[in-house]
Structure formats: structure tokens, C-alpha cells
């Protein structure tokens, strides 16, 4: 993922290493950061991670897989529309200098929205509207400086502010105002310490972030719990040659992580390895990733390890409902 291009992942990364997950450095470069601040989290880290894991229980299990549809053409359309949307989100994130988490959270909103309401092929504009509103919402929750709606770069369609606001409201009410999405990023520091004691955390975390971002296009974020993605990313960043057994051994260090399903972790781990192999110095363009073999891995249920969820097909149960999207 190191090569340049319109969507260079490495340029999106936090340079600060692990610190950036636990403190949010002020824009102002000449301020002295208080010593006690990052520590309060570190002291409580164990407790905080347990809390996050508890919050994850029930994750996704109640959601309809949004990419599961009988309509093959719409499924393909939606898959490529999602990849475009993700490109747009990450490009805009880079443009505004948002944190990677902000873009990631936007994608979770995107996926959650589509697991409850469908958009079909006849409304490509709705996908773009959804992307803008998801990113704008995530920025309002996560970022210090929020651009005005008209600053978001629009490509094919221009939306009035009013229309975007209406879409924001639609997302908020569809997601029942539960906007506090957990992300894998919250776990990285903790997992590095547990899985790879003694190694340089910054290097591993930076790599892990790249893995996570690279996975976004291939995994419906509704399907894998953030802690699973985080642990797979950390493991893959520290050792690319793990066997299932070796991985289990590493995971077993964490007592409180009874909920870390090793089958799921291994599935994500393999997915990362798969993606890495396919990284033939191509900029991560949307065309490439739709064709990439890791997507095929997802589609073929008999592939890779057993037991993992693979739901990357499209849902189209409510065509008629989506028609109303025209209204705003």
C-alpha cells in the first residue's frame, strides 16, 4: 500500500504512533501537553478495554446482512458503489486532515444504514448523498474542526445544504441515534502490549492501521466485531507467518477476551495476508479492489478457514421504500 496515488493509504496514517489513540494533540504546536493526560487512560486501560468488549456483545448479530440479495446485478452495483463511496470518504478525510478513525466510523454508519434501508441501482446519487452525510456526521462527533457542508467535495452530484441535513437526520433516526460506534483503533495499543510484548508498538500500530484501512472495502463492517479486526491487524502486523495454533497461543494471553473468537480472528488475519499478497504496487483504486481476489475469498464460502461469517452480498428487500429517497 506504500505507493503513491490518489488514495495513498500511508499518507493517511497518524505519524505519532500509538500516542494518537490516547491523546488528541492540539492543533497549536507550541502548547505543552499535560503529562497527566494520556496516563489517565493508560492507568484505566484494562478496565476500558473490558468495557469496550462488553459493549460489543451483541454486535452485528441483530443486523440484517445488508449485502445479501437475490438480485445479482443490484448486488454487484451496490458493491462497487460502496467501494466508490469508501474511496470518496477516505479521500475527503485526507483532504480535511481528519483522523483515520473518522473515515472508518463513517463507513460503519454507511454499512449500518444500508443494513436497515436499501438503495438501488436507479439512485446512484443516493449513495453519494449517504457518503457525504455519513462523513459529516462522523466529523461532528470525532473532529475538532468541522467543515461546512458545502466544503465537502462533490463529484457527480451537487446537493443543497438542506438536502444533506435531511439525509443526516435520516441517518440519525435510522441508526436510532446510536452513533457511538466502537472501532478497532481503540484496541490497538492494548493488543500490541498483550500480543507483542517487547516489540516497538509504534511500528506495529502504524502497520496495523494500514491493514485495517485496507480491509474496509472487503469486509462489511457489520460482520466483524472491532476487537476481532483489531487483533487480526495487530497479529498480522507483527508476524505474517502465524499458524492457527500460533495465533491461538498469542490470543490466549488475554484472559478478559473470552469473546475473541479465534476462528473469526484467523479469518480476518488470513484476509489481511491475502490482501497483502495481492498488493502488486497498485494504487488502491476502486477498480482494482473490486476485482481483487480477496473479494473473491469473501464470496466463496468454502474458502479459507471455517466458521467465519462472510456476508458480502447485497440486500434489496425494499426497493419501493428506497424510491422515497427522492423526496428530500
Amino acid at each position: 500500500m506504500g505507493s503513491s496515488g490518489t488514495f495513498s493509504l500511508s499518507s493517511l496514517m497518524c505519524e505519532e504512533g500509538e500516542a494518537c489513540f490516547f491523546e488528541h494533540l492540539d492543533e497549536n504546536p507550541d502548547t505543552i501537553d499535560s503529562l497527566d493526560s494520556p496516563c489517565f487512560v493508560l492507568e484505566d486501560e484494562e478496565e476500558y478495554i473490558e468495557y469496550l468488549l462488553r459493549q460489543e456483545t451483541g454486535f452485528g448479530s441483530q443486523n440484517q446482512p445488508f449485502l445479501a440479495s437475490d438480485d445479482r446485478s443490484n448486488r454487484n452495483w451496490l458493491r462497487s458503489a460502496r467501494v466508490d463511496a469508501i474511496d470518496w470518504i477516505f479521500n475527503s478525510q485526507a483532504k480535511f486532515g481528519f483522523r483515520v478513525e473518522t473515515a472508518y466510523i463513517s463507513v460503519t454508519y454507511f454499512d449500518r444504514f444500508l443494513s436497515k434501508r436499501s438503495i438501488d441501482e436507479s439512485k446512484p446519487w443516493a449513495i453519494q448523498l449517504l457518503s457525504v452525510a455519513c462523513l459529516s456526521l462522523a466529523a461532528k462527533i470525532e473532529e475538532q474542526n468541522v467543515p461546512v457542508l458545502s466544503d465537502y467535495p462533490m463529484e457527480e452530484y451537487r446537493f443543497e445544504n438542506k438536502v444533506i441535513k435531511n439525509m443526516e437526520l435520516m441517518i440519525l433516526s435510522t441508526l436510532e441515534w446510536k452513533m457511538g460506534s466502537a472501532t478497532p483503533f481503540a484496541y490497538l495499543h492494548y493488543f500490541v502490549g498483550k500480543f507483542c510484548p517487547g516489540s516497538k508498538p509504534q511500528t506495529i500500530i502504524t502497520k496495523a492501521i494500514q491493514h485495517i484501512v485496507a480491509m474496509v472495502k472487503d469486509v462489511n463492517l457489520m460482520d466483524q466485531r472491532p476487537s476481532i479486526i483489531a487483533s487480526a491487524a495487530i497479529l498480522a502486523a507483527s508476524d505474517a507467518t502465524l499458524t492457527r495454533k500460533g495465533m491461538d497461543l498469542r490470543i490466549s494471553v488475554i484472559s478478559s477476551c473470552g469473546s475473541l473468537e479465534s476462528g473469526d480472528v484467523f479469518f480476518c488475519y488470513n484476509l489481511i495476508q491475502e490482501k497483502r499478497k495481492n498488493e502488486v504496487k497498485t494504487p488502491c483504486s476502486n477498480l482494482m479492489s473490486t476485482q481483487s481476489s480477496s473479494t473473491c475469498v469473501l464470496e466463496n464460502p468454502s474458502d479459507t478457514c471455517s466458521g467465519a461469517k462472510r456476508k458480502l452480498s447485497f440486500e434489496d428487500s425494499e426497493n419501493c421504500a428506497a424510491q422515497k429517497l427522492h423526496r428530500p
Binding site: 489513540f21 491523546e23 488528541h24 492540539d26 502548547t31 505543552i32 501537553d33 499535560s34 497527566d36 493526560s37 494520556p38 489517565f40 487512560v41 476500558y48 468495557y51 462488553r54 456483545t57 451483541g58 454486535f59 441483530q62 443486523n63 440484517q64 436497515k116 434501508r117 459529516s136 456526521l137 461532528k140 462527533i141 470525532e142 475538532q144 468541522v146 461546512v148 457542508l149 458545502s150 445544504n161 438542506k162 444533506i164 441535513k165 435531511n166 439525509m167 443526516e168 437526520l169 435520516m170 440519525l172 433516526s173 435510522t174 436510532e176 441515534w177 446510536k178 452513533m179 457511538g180 481503540a186 428487500s317 425494499e318 421504500a321 428506497a322 422515497k324 429517497l325 423526496r327 428530500p328
Partner: protein
Amino acid sequence: MGDGSGSRWSRAEWVQQYDLLGKIGEGTYGLVFLARTKTPSPSKSIAIKKFKQSKDGDGVSPTAIREIMLLREITHENVVKLVNVHINHADMSLYLAFDYAEHDLYEIIRHHRDKLNHSINQYTVKSLLWQLLNGLSYLHSNWMIHRDLKPSNILVMGEGEEHGVVKIADFGLARIYQAPLKPLSDNGVVVTIWYRAPELLLGAKHYTSAVDMWAVGCIFAELLTLKPLFQGAEVKATSNPFQLDQLDKIFKVLGHPTLEKWPSLASLQHWQQDVQHIQGRKYDNTGLYNAVHLSTKSPAYDLLSKMLEYDPRKRITAAQALEHEYFKIEPLPGRNALVPCQLGEKIVNYPTRPVDNTTDLEGTTNLPPSQAVTGVSGSMPGAHGSNRSVPRPMNVVGMPRMPPQAMAAYNLTSQAAMGDGMNPGSISKQRGVPQGHPQQLRRKEQMGMPGYPSQQKSRRI
């Protein structure tokens, strides 16, 4: 608001659920109205908070999003209960419906100071404090920091099943830990500095739950003495200015902070830069016990001084405070903070909130001039007489509550019509999409109060 929008909002379906009684508050965030539910019976009082419209170019206001998303996650007896979120699609305005609380600590303290001229009884102080800590402990264990605790945000339920129960309110500035924080003055929100923790005044960039505990200490002292403990004059400037006077007020009572007692002090921006020579100032240290008239040996003093500990890492936590000896000695704290269990204690009848029935849900004032709002208060002797206009939720005073018959004008049923077609909610949801994860559902069931009609079921969001 263009032509005709005044009637458009009233056509919104959700408005029909309520009888609107009038405006009860106003602040930087918007307006608060008092209403009664028409069903289920018996009807109950609801406070409806209308968010001020954000600029068109900004979309939904971040404050509203944060407040609602946090309130959606929490259910606790000592935290205000969000009953419903209403979207008015005609102008895309947001309305939050809360269980109504008749009193707040600001008004209770003011009543004692200005009307009764005597202190709040020990049982009430202790019960209020215990419940405040109980709610806060819950918030902190869910990794939320309130960040704006002050007497007017601590509500107390009026007569009824929950009489005298404390409810922490106003989560517009609340945060989940680790979320980035804007300097408070930057989001255009005015926050009173009197309850602000010293580490923040000295330039700490990060909030910890300890900032809430400092505020609780200040509120505790105010409950005891009926006046704000550290009443600094605020420096108004665009970007989070250094509040010298507020620190000065604190140091005068608690003495100078030292590196010995507070090691991380050295790293705080304003301390290190020492622009105003705060390090060199001399303070006589009048002593906290003098300020609050407590014996240094009393458990109340011990608890208060632990809340007002300079070093945020040494400051007592809400969970620890609940275990403090102060709460284990007589009088023991109770659920109804306003009515002491012991005989012989006088029961104070606190005034109910004034209702301005001349303002409609859009915030437009109408109706006869004789009823026009004249008593807009802002200068409370001895309290908010400083150089700032504190955003008080209760701006309108001196208006008697109207008897129910007089409310006919606000009974909106007759004007009700079908909702308009712009409702994004009209896109039907997938069937069988469950609401929330099991943990939350369970919590809600548990919290259901006996004899307390649940609004949750009718929730449409």
C-alpha cells in the same frame, strides 16, 4: 421560517401527543417548554427542549447529536430520562422530550438564600449530594464525562412518585472519554467558570472524570453556604483565555498548589509559562473550613476537601465518595431528598417553575401585551452579579403557572392534520430490525418505575 411555517409545525404528528403549557427556559442551546402527555393516562409532565436551528450550511448541530447519542445510551435513576426525539420535518428542527423535573439546585439554593434566609437542612444536602454522586458514578463507569455540572443542571423531581429524586441534566457538552475535545469557548457555548477544575484553568488539554468531581465539590460547598465557592470574574475572549481571577479565587481559599502535592502541575501550559506570574503570588490560605464553616474534623469537611484536591489523579472519584463516612453517619441520605424522614424537620415547599405561556413551540411570542414577559431575570443578588450573563435555563420569573383551563389555546389537537410528505421516516424500515442490543433492552426493563407509565414503547425513532 417562511410564510405559513408557523402552522406547519403544529401539523406535525408528534405535536399531537402533547398539550403544550408554555415556555419554561431559554439558553444558548435553544428553548425548553413544559407540556403534558395526552396518553397514557394519567398524563405526565414533559419538558420539551427545542434546539436552536443551526445555520443551514452546518447541517444538524454537533451539540444536539452528542447530547442525544449519549442520552440514548444511559438509563439511570439519577440521570434525566430522554423519553423521545422528535424531528420537525418542515424546518428540520429537533425536539427532545424529557421527563419533567420541577426543581433544580440553582432554584433551591436561591430560594433558601433569598426567600427563607436559612440554610438547607443536613438531610437534604446529604441526599442531594449522594444522588448526584450516584448518577455521576454511573456516567463515569460508562466512560462519560459531563463537563458542565453546575447547580442549574442538577434537577430535582417535584411531587409524585419520584419526588425529591435528583436528575443530572444537560448533556450538550458531555463526552465519551477519548473523543477529541474542542476548547469549550470554541463551539460558541458559554460555560460558567465557577465550577471549572484548576487543571483546566491552568491549560490541561484533556478532560478526565476528575473535572466533574471538582464541580461536585463546588456544588457541595454551595449547598452548605448558599453561595458559589469560587466566584471568579470571567475573562471573555475568543479562544479559551487564561482565567486569572478564577484561579485567584481558588488559591485564596485552598492556598497555592505546589509541585510536591501536584507533580504534573509543572507540565500545565499556563503554570509553566507563568505569564501572569501566578507562581510568584502570595496567598494567605484562608482555609476551606473558614469558607464553608465546617470543622476540619467533620466528615463533611473531609469529603469536601477530597473533592477539591488539586491533583486530578488524587481527587476522590464518585464511586469512592459514595463510600465516604459522611454518608454513613446520621442523618442518612434518602431517596426523597426534599422531605426528611425524621420528625421535627421542617418541610420546605419550593416554588414551581414559572411558565411563560405566551411563547409557542417555535419560540414566537404572541398573546396579549398584559402578559408580556417583563421579568427576564439575570441579576441574582450575590450570585450571578458578575460580569457575565450566565445562560440560565430559567430566564422567565414571576409568571404564575396557568391553571389547566387557560391552556386551551395550546391544545393542539384541533389543528392536527396529517404529517407532511417530507418525512424521511416514511421510508419504512426493514421488518424485524431489532431495537438496540440485549444489554440495553434489559437495562431499560429494570429501570421501569412502578406506577410510572413507560413512554419507551411508543418511541418512533
